[in-house]
Symmetry: T
Subunit: 151 residues, 12 copies
């Protein structure tokens, strides 16, 4: 049976491609979803892909993932720096959770350098643009011991 | 006429009993609700018992309590450390508000030692496990001058 | 065609007039809305006026303003001090955003002196009571080069 | 055989009822002792009740409790914020120790918000006035699995 | 009898229009004075308008305003961040004092984010360019309950 | 009837005259007591003069002063910087308490610049050598409205 | 020949008696000068008494004192906390300089607790009201070894 | 012509597989090199693979990469947190540099959470074990627009 | 004539061997005393060995040592981190004072890393278990130029 | 036509040679002026040389330099560490401004290590004694591309 | 078979006896080596004794010790305060490592009070002059359970 | 006999002219060396000119200078901010050491504003571009009392 993975996106990521393209690029969140679906298929993963501007939704979805998924990829957006609720929800999943950021958050404002999520994520990557989602799925597959399927 | 009290729970408390049982124990939020109902009855209190992962819900409910309740018991979970909106809503209730935590938050990570809520709560307790809710109801009754009713 | 402006209000502002009147005065949020409508008419602005206790709603509405409005006036309430999501949403609007506070937040608790919003707002004002909304509309009109219409 | 509990009070608590009654109330330390004796009887506990202005006495008594008691309730007064010796003595007891404060220390001066004791106490409560001692005995009984005896 | 208001300007504001026009715009301090005179007339205010590079002058003038004026508008320039003497002089005026900045100081260097003046001003505004002076006079009039006079 | 004043000295002040004479001078604590007795007589004060290396003693004596004295002069020595118990005891006296230091503590190590006592003392003086005690008695007399008696 | 002493007063002290009388009392700076003249006569001192709102004046006068005076009493007002120029000028006097404050600055806002002047003053006193000037002259006389003259 | 990439390793990485295997795993640096060579071949990259315990060597090699390579992957080990020289050398390369860590450095000691390198790296990843090197090569290829070659 | 040395122990050291044996080992304070007596004999030293939970006792004993001893070995326990009174008493001894800790305090909680005593001790050692006392006596003998006596 | 340069000196520099000669040397400000005149002549510069204890004068003179000079050399004395007004005036000059200190300010008190001026100066030098003024003129000439004239 | 121990010395220790003799004494590093060889013989230890100014050498040698030695004595000199690479290498040795300093580093500049090494060393000593190396060998022998051999 | 001076350069200075020319200019390190040789000749100095990316080399060379040179000019590059080993080596030289930076480090990133070297250097200069080396040699000559030789 196919394993399920969740890709969760935090606030303002629905504006991807329109907002500050010099930082975030011109690809949209639909492009990200398409990229994720293609990459997930490579490993036979079912994909749940969501975005919300509400912290509570992200917590709800992490609790849902806890029941249904084998792993989670999360781009918490601005919640990265402010949400202990998400930190707690990640611990509660007892799953490998990969934190992704499109831009290199370490090269930006000081307040973007602290992440509550990083301390409880299994792995973290940033700065690869939207390809970071693809690398995160590859990395999650490796952590789960799932190999790419023959084409 | 019976007085009403609110017991409000913040994010991830719906996972109680499943999440990190070494810290939070094995009792569920239903167990907490049952404990609260029994204890509230002892004082003839009507009980409103709620949980949400959304900060805005907790603020909404505190505003509701402001109209309807004689006192509030709140376990703000992770919002304890990050929500000034809840701090403001507690002030606005003009009610005695008791802050409860199941674990001793002072014995955990540094970021759990600061509580925005404590400065505006009437009283605070932590570390008694779920029995802390019972003690909070007893304490709230004492603050309100309500005595236990004859059995 | 009339330009549209948004006036967005954060948590607990629905309690205006009831909560801590020594700080916030006795006028209600309806009074604020009325004041804003009158003042907006002076410049021929369409007005969207909203309040929520949910951070996500404020982010959603800023994204909506991004599509529809010529400018935004925001009183983020407690989110002023805690929300990077709103900061990001304001940047994304690419509109002039005016931050308003009814009280002088610099004369209150230390934690109210830091505003994430101020760094990305076009202009900031506080301490004028609810008349601050009127001044903000006047100021926004000036920034947009819109003059008051003949009576 | 009856279990023994210690109730230890730190500096200036002998002035209770006379000193700053707006903060600490008008009940005296004798009232506190009477309240504690009544409540301890409910659980069949022997009670040792003491106060000192000397940090060393509190350390000595914690070491005594280590030999003789099943649990400790401590209101360390000002030593809460300055004494690592008491912190070490509490660890050494290997007993459940409940920290009590009459006022809500989180609503007072900044230097009263840090407690060396809280990190090693089993549970903490504050803000319930002298009734806090009663709740602490109830809570200690619950932690020890001792039920109230039939009247 | 006409009420008097003071508009006081701190160091380097005499260079307005020449210094860093990308931040401060191209209008000169004479333009500001003209704008203020026009706006003050609208309310029937007498206007005293001054600038100095000497902290002591600003203190002297605030003491003068204390005797003669109904309110003060102050752009303390760099003294905003360094002068406790001006803070004390503002308290001593026992008048409504409005703090104005041409640029949004919160969007600039870190050391410009702290204002000694804001904590004792009645109201604060920044980021509206020189129109901020006009809004400050409008706001001061509102605080003083003075209405615009018929044209 | 003669008024009583207490002069209380903290740790190591019994070594005065022997310890670090370049900082504390060569006069002994007996010299200080003699100076105080002479000066107290000038105002008809009874004098209680004590020294201890035990923080608890100083707290006990402040409580005693609370019952018997019209004012207190205290040189808390090293407890100045570490004792919140003494701070609380001073508040509890509800008396004018003058803090004295022989050396100028502001010209010494950084950790000697913070005094818990100063915030609750009525007045503070340091750097006058042992004559500081005399000035403190003069100052206390002035605060109490007691004049020097004819010789 | 009579020795000369300088009494220098910083910003806003000319408002003494009018400004915040709950903190500074109702005596004026003229009262202070009169008190100082009377006390100086007791020791045969010539007195120079000045006040300015300009930091530079205070520096100029300290340099003048350096040439003419045997000692200085300074109440730097707000410059206490901000002026390194005055610190340097005090060092340069090579005279005993006594720092005086009318109120207890340690019991006020945090920013009033740091004094640049204290580290280089010979002695410091605060909280005695305007009598503090008298005690400072007494103390300065003692430091200079000048005795009160027969009446 | 084949492009060249550098993989540079900082201090103690030569102990990989032997040192703290619970943190770093049991694979050796030879295993890492083999993994990198295989992965580099997939993109037709020439690979230079080095390790040193000397900060100066890492700086020297980055300068060498500056002349010869199309991109760099660096695991600076402990130099991550202490070397501004490496930060400067990375800027000087004017190449895409990917920072890799085997463990999740954000879940470890506080001093490992600050990286001088991250602010100037193009992208950062950590927590994937040695597979992180493979993902870094994939990511670098994507950034360089180099596709995997047919098998 | 034999020289005298003092070995002074702070709070909770009387529990040695019983309290947290994983940190402090299973040897008791009697074992420490025996070890010290044997080692002191080697150098012909008279030994005074004491322990107290009262800071004031430690200060008193240091003053006693000042009169009678050639050197002091002190394990201040928790007072290490909180007592400026002991710091002052050590300075006053004008003797070589060796600070000893059984455990390596640098490998424990952050608050145990700061020692007021270390800055005024002649030498410091920690982490050797109770043998540290023996090394301290050896080291003190070397500092005093006293050689081991023939057996 | 000869270019003009300004050499501006802050507070207490008029005492040069008399004040703390171990730090500042025995040369007077006249010596400095003479040195500067000689050195300026070497490049054909007109020299304006001034000193004031008033921050406002320094700001005024920088504004004057803005109109008349090709470059400025400034020794801001104590204003270095406290004056944002001078910082702003330097930016406004749009000239190369060289900051000079006679002593090495980095080897002195901590509060002398931060300079507001340095961040906006073109170049900074300290520790060369009064010869530093000569080097500053040489350096300014080099920055302006002015060569020494034939003797 | 004889056990081996390493004594490793960091930067500038080769200047011992010449550099700052008031702090470090007049004995040279050769004297230290001789002292160590004599003391090591007492326990039958082989001794490897080295010094380098290169951090990388110290890391290399710790890795060498990891293979060959039973314990390490290290005086990291300035690297104490700056090198995480040495911290990591010490952990990797899995040996008892004793940190030695000739002077009492706690009595010197603030930046010398923090040691990265101390947190991972087994034991630490400082302030005994070069005899500290001898005590460290004695202490290491005790920790290894090796007794002095009969002469 | 000619005096010798050392000019020592830290990491990445070998890239001068290629790396970030907007900050460091387009002159190479060879240009710097040529400039230094010419200027040294003016005073009859022998010149040793070196660069390394290895901190240990800089320490070695400072020790060499200690034996052979009359003074040192050092541009420590990134080691400025991180190397206490170089700080110690500079103290050990007992020579006048001049710290030079090509750019104005105070106008760059925060972490470049702290220099360990400055506190022990004799003099410091920055921001003059490579001409700074020339001024440093002039200044060193002045400090050594060496005059320029006749051409």
């Amino acid at each position: 049976m196919a394993k399920s993975i969740f890709v969760l996106n935090g606030p303002n990521l629905n504006l991807l491609g329109q907002r500050q393209p010099d930082i975030y690029g011109r690809k949209t969140l639909s492009d990200v979803e398409a990229l994720c679906r293609t990459r997930a298929q490579r490993y036979g993963f079912d994909l749940t892909f969501r975005q919300s501007n509400h912290e509570g939704d992200v917590v709800d979805w992490l609790q849902e993932a806890r029941q249904e998924a084998a792993g989670v990829i999360i781009n918490p957006g601005a919640f990265t720096h402010t949400s202990i609720a998400i930190l707690d929800a990640i611990i509660a999943t007892e799953l490998p959770v990969i934190e992704v950021h499109i831009s290199n958050i370490h090269a930006r404002e000081e307040f973007r350098r602290h992440s509550y999520v990083s301390a409880v994520a299994k792995a973290v990557l940033c700065g690869f643009g939207i390809e970071g989602y693809g690398l995160a799925i590859d990395g999650l597959a490796a952590l789960l011991g799932v190999k790419a399927q023959a084409a």
